[in-house]
Structures are given as C-alpha cells and as structure tokens.
C-alpha cells in the first residue's frame, strides 16, 4: 500500500543511521574473529602465515599436559581472583552503600582515582612492594617476623595479588549499585518479622544483591583468564597462563594457526561464561559496561 510506503521510508532512514556501525563491527570484529577461527584449522605456513590443508592438528596439540596444565592454572587463578574480589569487595561495596552520602562520594572517588592511571604502572607499584629489599620484606624483617627476605616477587601469589588488585573495582561497582538500589524497608520488614540481623542479611540482602554479585563474578573472571602482562611482570617464568601461551606462540614461535586455536579456546570459554550468565538472567552488555564505566562514577 502506498500509505505504508512513506512512513516505512522515514523509519528505515533512521535505522540506516546504524549501518556504519554494523558494517564496521562486521568487518573488523565479526570478520576478524571468523578469520582466526578459520586460521585455527590450518597448518603453519611460511614465516608468519597459514596454509592448507584443513586440519584439526592445532586442537589436538592443545590436548597435552603442557597446555591443559596452563588452562587449568589460568582457570584456577581466574576463579580465585573472582572469589577473593567477592570476599573483599562485597563488604566494601555494602559498607560503601550504607555510608553517608557525602562520605560515599569521597570514598567512591578515592576508589576510582588510582584506576585513572595506567594499569601497568599500578602493577609496577606491587613490584616495588614485593621486591626482596622492598617495603614488605623490610617491614617483616624489622618486626622480627621473618629471618631472611621472603621471595614474594615472581610467584603465583604475586600474580594473584596483582589480579585481585586490578579487578576489585569491577566487583565493588556492580555490587555497590545493587546494594544502593535495594529498598532498606525490606530488611526492616524482615527484622520486624523476627529475623536476626544475620538472618535478615542472608534471607533478604544477599538474594537482593545477587545480580550485582553475579555481574561482578563474570566481570572479574573473564578478563583474568586473558591478562598476560600481569603474569609477565609479577609472575615467575613458570607461571604460564593461557594469555602468556597465546602471546608466546605468536611472538616467539610465530605459529599463527596455533595461537589462533588457543584464542578460539579462550573465546569459547568466554562465550560459555556469558551464556551461563545470560541464562541466569543477567544482561551481558550492560554488565560489562557497568563494570568499566566506574571511572566516571564519582558521585
């Protein structure tokens, strides 16, 4: 019908505004991801390239103790990071939400400001702290708690501390926003109905803030699997995380198809986590966004 035509044109015109974005994303995100999926099924070619025939060798190679150990290590580290971020970050977020508005604004700002500086430099601070003659060892020595300097730097412990340090705001912020949005009258109602403060917390506050916790867990878990520079700077030579594997295959062995296969495994893992998160009712894009936009949340 002619009638439909005109309105349809106007609205389609508006939708067409999204075309550059869709095309750009398809070209540089969609296509590049498809490309490495394709690469991962090819053989290593001359120099830094790939060549046919199609093969599943790269994936078969991953099923080896070396890589499985690295995968396990990465997953364990990411899980530990997420767990500690939750244990440390939940109370922080909870108390933050309960603080007086003025104090809250200051606390949030203090939480955020260090994260405005470069991540590498912040990690570098830990390097100073953890070094053999650094402040931590000096303090422990002078207190007489240890006889000789502990080896802190270049250990899995240092990597874990660095990860928690880098990721904790991504836990605090989503939890904070869910605690802040919670209606405190519900907690009062549960107290009124006979719950002890602990019971009220467990039966009302925890379930009500669960979405924030879930978002925080995903937000701290996913990046932890892929961060390679952290273990590069703080970890020992045998702390080979999945990210380090990709990095090494690419830059040292220059084996592009194999590095691609390693990335595809990571991509699949990420997809799985996001899928589970969505199944549990989370909204992935807003969740990720929420976590990263914290640097502007200064109120």
């Amino acid at each position: 019908m002619a009638v439909h035509h005109i309105e349809g044109k106007a609205k389609r015109g508006r939708e067409a505004l999204a075309l550059p974005m869709a095309v750009y994303a398809a070209l540089f995100v969609g296509l590049s991801l498809l490309y490495i999926i394709g690469l991962s099924f090819l053989n290593r070619g001359e120099g830094f390239s790939a060549s046919p025939p199609v093969t599943a060798d790269n994936y078969l190679r991953i099923i080896s103790p070396l890589y499985l150990r690295s995968l396990l290590l990465s997953l364990r580290l990411a899980a530990l990071t997420a767990l500690f971020c939750l244990l440390l970050g939940y109370p922080f977020a909870y108390f933050l939400a309960k603080a007086r508005p003025k104090a809250r604004a200051w606390l949030l700002m203090l939480l955020i400001v260090p994260f405005w500086t470069n991540a590498l430099i912040r990690i570098y601070g830990w390097k100073i702290l953890f070094s053999a003659s650094g402040p931590v060892n000096s303090a422990l020595l002078s207190l007489g708690l240890i006889g000789r300097p502990l080896k802190l730097l270049y250990t899995d412990f240092a990597v874990l501390v660095g990860m928690i340090y880098a990721m904790i705001p991504f836990m605090v912020l989503p939890v904070y926003s869910s605690v802040e949005r919670m209606d405190w009258a519900m907690v009062e109602a549960s107290r009124d109905l006979g719950a002890s403060p602990l019971k009220a917390f467990l039966t009302v506050t925890v379930p009500m803030t669960l979405p924030g916790v879930l978002a925080g867990l995903v937000l701290t878990f996913i990046p932890s699997v892929g961060l390679f520079f952290l273990s590069d700077l703080l970890g020992g030579s045998n702390t080979m995380l999945w990210g380090n594997m990709v990095h090494n295959e690419l830059l040292k062995s220059r084996d592009l198809p194999f590095a691609a296969a390693l990335s595809v495994v990571l991509l699949t893992l990420t997809g799985l986590v996001i899928l589970i998160y969505r199944r549990m009712g989370g909204k992935a894009e807003s969740m990720v966004f929420l976590g990263r936009r914290f640097i502007f949340e200064t109120q």
């Binding site: 939708e15 430099i121 990571l266």
Partner: protein, 291 residues
C-alpha cells in the same frame, strides 16, 4: 538501619589503604636518588633526576605521549560519529514486515551484538584477531591499524552510553517535534542530539580513557614508529626497572587528580544547571546510565 559501625569504617579505610599502597610506593620512589637499575628498591635520598629524565627527549616518553594522544583523538572522533549514529538508529526500532524487512532487521540486530563484543571478550583475542586480519589484507601495522583497532573497542562505550540515554528519553519529545513541523532531520538537530549531548560527551571521555590506557590490543597492531605510552611503559618495566617510570606515574597521578577535581567542579556546576533545567534523572557526565 542505614548506619555503619566503626568496624565498617575501619574496613573501608583498610581496603583503600591497600589500594593506595602501590601507588604511594611509586610516588615515593619517583623521588629516590638510588638509580635502582637492578631490582634493588631502597630509598636512599631525595632526588628529582627521574623527572629530568622523563622530560628528556632521548627517553622517548614525550613521543609516546604524543602518539597516544593522537591515537585516542582520532579513535574517539570516529567512534563518536559511528557510535552516536548507531545509537540513534538502534533505539526503539520498529518491527519489520516481509522477508526482506525482517532479514534486514535481524542483520542490524546482529550488527549491534557484534559491535559490543569487543568490551565483552578478553582483549587478547581481539588483538590477535585484528593482527591476523590486518596482516592478511595488508593494512600496515602502525597508526592506521591502531586507529582501526581502537575504534572497534571505543564504539561500544559511546554506543551504549548514548543508547541508554535515548532509551530513557520520552519518545513523545521527538513526536512532538514532528507534530510541530520539524522534518526528521531537524528533529535530530534540535531535539535528539542536544538531549543526548551529555551522554555523547560521557561516552567520549570513557572511550578516550580506554584508548589511552589500552595496552593489549595496541601491543598486537602497533608499528615501529607508533609506540604508545602504555607500550613504552611496558617495554621499560619489562627490560629493567627504570625509576623514571615512577616519575611518569606521579605526573599522571597529578594530572588525574587535577582532572578529577575539575570534573567535580563541572559536575557541581552541572548539578546547579540541572536544577535550573529540572531534568529528570541523574545524567550530566554519566549520561543517565548511572547504575
């Protein structure tokens, strides 16, 4: 009910101290006269030599900073256009009829999903993928490749911020403008864009910060002439323990504190203005997407 115990305050303070400890170390050691080329971190005396080092062109920090600023500038410019248009196009889309209409609708929807992927997947994947793609189609590593990559992960920040703001707007505003004689283009210029301006600004700032801070993706697609600041820091920290990195961090902290203070002032001004405008919701710098 809504009151913190002394223990709670203590806990808040403790975590903050832990967060600031590494930063304080960096600031402190930036004034250390110990050259500390080895992993020997002991404070030996006050010195400003690392600051002098930092501003010495030979060390290359100035060039790296310029590279980062140029990269972030171009990336934010392109992503602001692409992301804002994307948000306007994708918000409140009408359903389509017919096979072609539905297919187009689905394709655009898929495009949206793909566009926000870069901030959901680990950066190393996108870095590797873009590196592989660029070397395949022959885009030389360097500034063009860097800008193309940064736009890919800057777009979602702007897109989501602006879309959130537009979705929170009363759809009646645009209809009222049409009703009062504005063509679709004029509606965009006089209603939609002015109202989403705070969100565009907020998204751009966020994207700018992300671009300036990006290490992983830049690491894969940079060229010999385009060492960005994070790359420069990484190579310095990786090779030895050059104390002027401490100086750099201290300078950055100083800049950040100034910016945050400025931001607070603007926000305070915005609040006053907002009070006058009577906007609903908390937007300003945060584009109405504050959780």
């Amino acid at each position: 009910m809504k009151k913190n115990s002394p223990w709670a305050s203590f806990y808040l303070a403790l975590i903050l101290v832990l967060l600031y400890l590494p930063v304080l170390m960096v600031v402190l050691f930036s004034f250390n006269s110990n050259p500390g080329r080895t992993a020997n971190f002991q404070f030996e005396g006050f010195s400003l030599q690392w600051y002098r080092d930092l501003f010495d062109p030979v060390t290359g920090y100035g060039t790296a900073l310029t590279t980062s600023l140029v990269l972030a500038g171009w990336s934010v410019l392109f992503s602001a256009v692409i992301g804002t248009l994307g948000a306007i196009g994708m918000v409140r889309r009408p359903r389509r009829r017919g096979l072609i209409g539905r297919a187009g609708h689905a394709a655009l929807g898929a495009g949206e999903q793909i566009a926000v992927l870069p901030i959901m997947i680990p950066e190393i994947i996108l870095g590797l993928a873009l590196m592989a793609l660029f070397s395949f189609i022959g885009i030389p590593f360097g500034m063009p490749a860097l800008v193309l990559s940064h736009v890919a992960f800057c777009v979602p920040y702007i897109f989501i911020t602006v879309k959130g703001r537009l979705a929170s707007l009363d759809p009646g505003l645009e209809e009222a403008a049409r009703d009062l004689g504005a063509t679709p283009l004029k509606v965009l210029a006089t209603v939609t864009l002015p109202l989403s301006f705070p969100a565009i600004l907020s998204g751009c700032l966020l994207a700018f910060a992300m671009s300036m801070d990006d290490f992983v993706i830049s690491f894969f697609v940079n060229g010999p002439q385009t060492t960005t600041l994070p790359l420069k820091v990484y190579s310095s920290v990786k090779v030895g323990v050059p104390p002027h990195v401490n100086a750099l961090c201290t300078v950055m902290l100083g800049v950040v504190f100034t910016l945050v203070a400025l931001g607070q002032l603007i926000q305070a001004g915005n609040l006053k203005r907002k009070d006058r405008l009577g906007y609903a919701g908390r937007d300003g710098l945060t584009g109405g997407l504050v959780p």
